[in-house]
């Protein structure tokens, strides 16, 4: 790839804490290499801010290889930025050109309150999993791994759903701040496997109830979630979730 440098204007959301109202600040970035990652550009900015005696921009990040799900920047109106099937940590500066203005905001959703700057609290996702996103099998209970064959097609579909990294881009992209794609990915992953069968009905009912309790919005099937999902989780999982929910609602025995 041909290497080039560029000058950019960054508009970054700054918010001291959850109580602060927040505002945009503008930073001029000089000589940014096209080979840098987007977060490395923020490293450069932060080093500069510290040297200038200013507060660096807080943002979540960890693995920087697109799998931990920590990073969460809303770049030019799109979660994780312009590239398809990508996390912002894997976005590289060759996606931009000299003179560009880039606007960076946190995930915005009632269920994801801002902690500081670009950092939000996504613990609602953990609580949705706590409501039933698992198979109840204590350590030591398992039978031999090959005792239950699983149709390859189903195993592959379960894997595709399980690829969700829990970053929350789906929520951030949705005009209703719905968490349906996140939820659907987990329900599908477990409903597609024979191991998930015994808890199939209670799982979906409890997880949906928790999602509503957390304050996520409803799904109006705009498919924005799939369009921005770094792992390309399909909205067909939402259809499956709806089917699972309906079946469970109609047939589950009340406790």
């Amino acid at each position: 790839m041909e290497h080039y440098t560029m000058n950019l204007t960054l508009k970054v959301w700054r918010q001291k804490n959850a109580a602060d109202k927040g505002h945009f600040e503008t930073y001029e970035m000089k000589d940014i290499s096209s080979e840098m990652s987007f977060l490395e550009m923020f490293d450069v900015l932060n080093e500069r801010l510290i040297r200038e005696g200013k507060d660096p921009v807080a943002f979540d990040h960890d693995c920087r290889e697109g799998i931990c799900g920590s990073c969460s920047m809303y770049v030019n109106g799109r979660p994780h930025g312009p590239w398809k099937a990508n996390t912002v940590c894997q976005l590289h500066m060759r996606a931009f050109k000299d003179g560009d203005t880039i606007v960076v905001e946190p995930w915005r959703a009632n269920a994801f309150p801002v902690i500081k700057d670009l950092v939000v609290d996504r613990s609602a996702f953990d609580r949705i999993i706590q409501a039933g996103g698992y198979i109840s099998v204590n350590t030591g209970n398992a039978v031999d791994a090959n005792a239950i064959p699983v149709e390859k097609e189903k195993a592959d579909a379960a894997f595709a759903a399980a690829a969700c990294i829990g970053c929350g881009a789906c929520v951030a992209a949705c005009k209703n701040s719905s968490a349906m794609l996140f939820l659907a990915a987990k329900v599908s992953h477990l409903a597609l496997l024979p191991q998930g069968e015994p808890e199939r009905k209670t799982r979906v009912l409890n997880m949906v109830a928790q999602m509503d309790k957390e304050g996520f919005g409803s799904c109006t099937f705009t498919e924005q979630c799939e369009a921005v999902c770094p792992k390309q989780i399909s909205v067909s999982n939402i259809s499956r979730l709806n089917k699972e929910y309906l079946m469970a609602g109609l047939t589950a025995e009340k406790k």
């Binding site: 080093e47 660096p56 590239w83 613990s123 953990d126 699983v150």
Partner: protein
């Protein structure tokens, strides 16, 4: 004298004997016992979940915003288990033997044998949890091969095996949270352990959102905080991976085992510039089908596809015909360095070699065309079908490569170079995973125990889960059985007060320097010293220089550091400053350890000790021991030796030729 507490009896009976004779805690007493788990990767999450299931009251801590984000999630290739589903001659003994040999005879036999034994249970447990491993059309599990072995024993989920295993453990953990058996503290960092009457009784943590310090009591404390490869600044570790938890424990009396044993992984994406913040691994599984080469001509600047077949040097296949591209990691890394140092490197930096999929694409393409009944397929048809197969096996890795480099690896060979990946060293533990501090345990990468001087691919996931699911639930009972009469100790106890005070003073000291240099800049400089002098090749002179340089850098750190922001707020710069301060102490110990071990073994390559062919030369007469270092004060450590006795796997010169 170090007591490794290895049970008596024949090697393959030790674990069975131990389990049959260790002390048990009855369910009513388990409810009264509190256990603290630091870290929620594979080892921590599996331990916290399993102990919660048993009825212990567990508190789990992680610095990330969710336990699901621990760095185990990034493991790509797979997990080993001696299932022998492929009928290719695998067994518990073979897995044990390969691991000992792969570790260059610097691991403890009894621990490794136990690891091989429980490996089979791990796969069962994970499948029961719904981990979607790759399967064959018959619905049964698929396997692939990895470096350092000649059987197919690696279970995988595309290139996301770590993620799937961690999500399995995370879900088990969240289930225990929901049941009230585990209390989860995310965005918390452990900053000290609390010792009362010689036993570990709790921790001091910092709430990373509010900056508040918290005291937590536990009858036992488990450190599952991962490895310390980030001491090199550039590594495949996550940005937050750090040594702090185990380093604080080390300073409080836990010996540090083989600190210099570092794994440099052969297949990573090369450094592209000074801005680089981390390196990205390309899974070792790529060596299954990819062929590694450099041009035969020095300084060849032709494009890779313009270099004809007979002008390419497939140096691993040339040097190691028996294992070829699947030699263990340390061997593959050194071979790449050797070629680049000799002037055969490729790419703009000349610090890279090619990993080529052209041959694999043709091979798979022909098989597919044959399956589809296409006779005399065109090259184009072969390529098309070959790419489909490669995509299914390695698609996500190829995509990742393209995102980072902007090059299409289906068209041009990937450029790779070795990078720091894993640390075999860690806190010294006995057979029960207990450190030299009673009641303080270390699990997973945080301990030193199973991989000797070099870890085989797909064994880290195996060890993390073995420790958490199947070892600690037994061994911790043997300790806690004697603690059932210990009532919870108030966190107003003077030891807690004192520990918190020390932590607070250190934080205030970091904040009060108000110098000119950032934590990041110190970290970079430390990393450079470590990589240049304590990296893939080490020598006495370089190590001595490194020790002096690190001491000077540490001095500079404590007099010219600038930490932005305040103490009582969300402040990642302060978190980083504390971690870099600990790396600056660890780096010195690593160099001291590397200097004292005047032999080459596994990933530790002392230039003074090599065979005529340039392979690592062990010195079993003098160094067949675990180096366990006791902290005695600044720049002062005492060496303790745990002799290694090989009763079954007799040490030989490792050969993969």
């Amino acid at each position: 004298m170090l007591d490794s507490k290895i049970p008596a009896g024949p090697l393959d009976q030790k674990w069975t004997y131990y389990k049959g004779h260790c002390k048990l805690v009855n369910p009513a007493n388990k409810r009264k016992l509190e256990v603290i788990v630091i870290g929620t990767g594979l080892a921590g999450a599996s331990a916290a979940a399993s102990l919660g299931e048993l009825g212990y009251r567990v508190k789990a801590f992680c610095f990330q915003d969710s336990p699901r984000r621990a760095h185990s999630i990034a493991a790509q290739g797979g997990i080993n288990a001696a299932k022998n589903y492929q009928n290719d001659g695998d067994s518990v003994f073979r897995l044990f033997y390969d691991t000992i040999k792969g570790g260059d005879y610097r691991a403890r036999e009894a621990n490794v044998h136990r690891l091989a034994e429980v490996s089979v249970n791990i796969i069962d447990q994970c499948v029961a949890q719904g981990v979607p491993f790759a399967r064959e059309y018959g619905g049964l599990l698929s396997n692939r091969s990895f470096g350092g072995t000649q059987v197919q024993r690696t279970f995988y989920a595309a290139g996301q095996t770590g993620q799937q295993l961690l999500i399995g453990a995370y879900q088990a953990l969240e289930r225990q949270v929901a049941l009230g058996n585990v209390k989860m503290y995310a965005r918390h960092e452990m900053l000290d352990v609390v010792i009362i009457d010689g036993k570990c009784r709790g921790v001091i943590c910092r709430n990373l959102v509010t900056g508040e310090l918290e005291r937590h009591f536990g009858h036992a404390v488990l450190l599952a905080s991962g490895g310390y490869g980030n001491v090199f600044y550039l590594s495949t570790n996550a940005m937050g991976s750090n040594v702090t938890a185990i380093w604080k424990a080390h300073r409080k009396g836990a010996f540090f085992g083989n600190p210099c044993f570092t794994q440099i992984h052969p297949t990573c994406i090369p450094v592209s510039g000074d801005h680089q913040s981390k390196l990205t691994l390309m899974s070792e599984s790529l060596r299954n089908d990819g062929r590694i080469w450099v041009p035969k001509k020095k300084g060849d600047t032709r494009k890779p596809n313009d270099i004809p077949e007979d002008e390419r040097d497939y140096y691993l296949e040339r040097r190691y015909p028996a294992f070829g591209n699947l030699v263990p990691r340390d061997v593959a890394s050194r071979a790449a360095k050797e070629r680049c140092d000799a002037g055969y490197g490729v790419g703009s930096s000349r610090q890279a070699v090619y990993l080529d999929y052209a041959a694999a694409i043709v091979r798979y393409g022909k098989i597919e065309c044959n399956k589809l009944g296409i006779t005399n397929p065109t090259d184009e048809q072969v390529r098309k079908h070959g790419i489909e197969v490669v995509k299914e096996k390695y698609g996500n890795l190829f995509d990742m490569y393209e995102k980072i480099t902007g090059e299409n690896p289906y068209e041009v060979p990937m450029r790779i170079y070795p990078a720091v990946h894993y640390t075999m060293g860690g806190l010294w533990v006995d057979y029960e995973l207990m450190t030299t501090v009673p009641g303080l345990y270390a699990l997973g990468e945080a301990n030193f125990s199973d991989h000797g001087a070099n870890r085989l691919g797909a064994s880290a996931l195996m060890q993390g889960l073995a420790d958490g699911y199947f070892v600690i639930p037994y061994t911790i009972g043997n300790y806690l059985a004697d603690e059932i009469r210990t009532a919870p100790i108030s966190t107003d106890h003077p030891a807690f007060v004192e520990a918190e005070k020390n932590v607070r003073e250190r934080i205030e000291k970091l904040m009060s320097i108000k110098g000119n240099q950032t934590p990041e800049s110190f970290h970079k400089r430390l990393g450079k010293i470590m990589w240049d002098k304590c990296g893939m090749a080490r020598n006495a002179e370089g190590l001595k220089q490194a020790i002096t340089e690190i001491q000077q850098l540490r001095k500079e750190f404590w007099s010219d550091l600038r930490v932005a922001g305040n103490v009582n707020e969300f402040n990642p710069e302060l978190d980083k400053a504390g971690r870099v301060a600990d790396f600056l102490e660890l780096g010195e110990l690593m160099c001291i350890d590397a200097l004292h071990r005047n032999e080459s073994c596994g990933g530790h390559f002392r230039e003074e000790s090599q065979t005529e062919e340039g392979e690592a030369k062990r010195d079993d007469a003098n160094y067949s021991y675990v180096a366990a270092w006791e902290f005695k004060g600044e720049s002062n450590w005492e060496l303790h030796k745990e002799p290694l006795n090989f009763e079954v796997a007799k040490p030989t010169q490792r050969s993969y030729k």
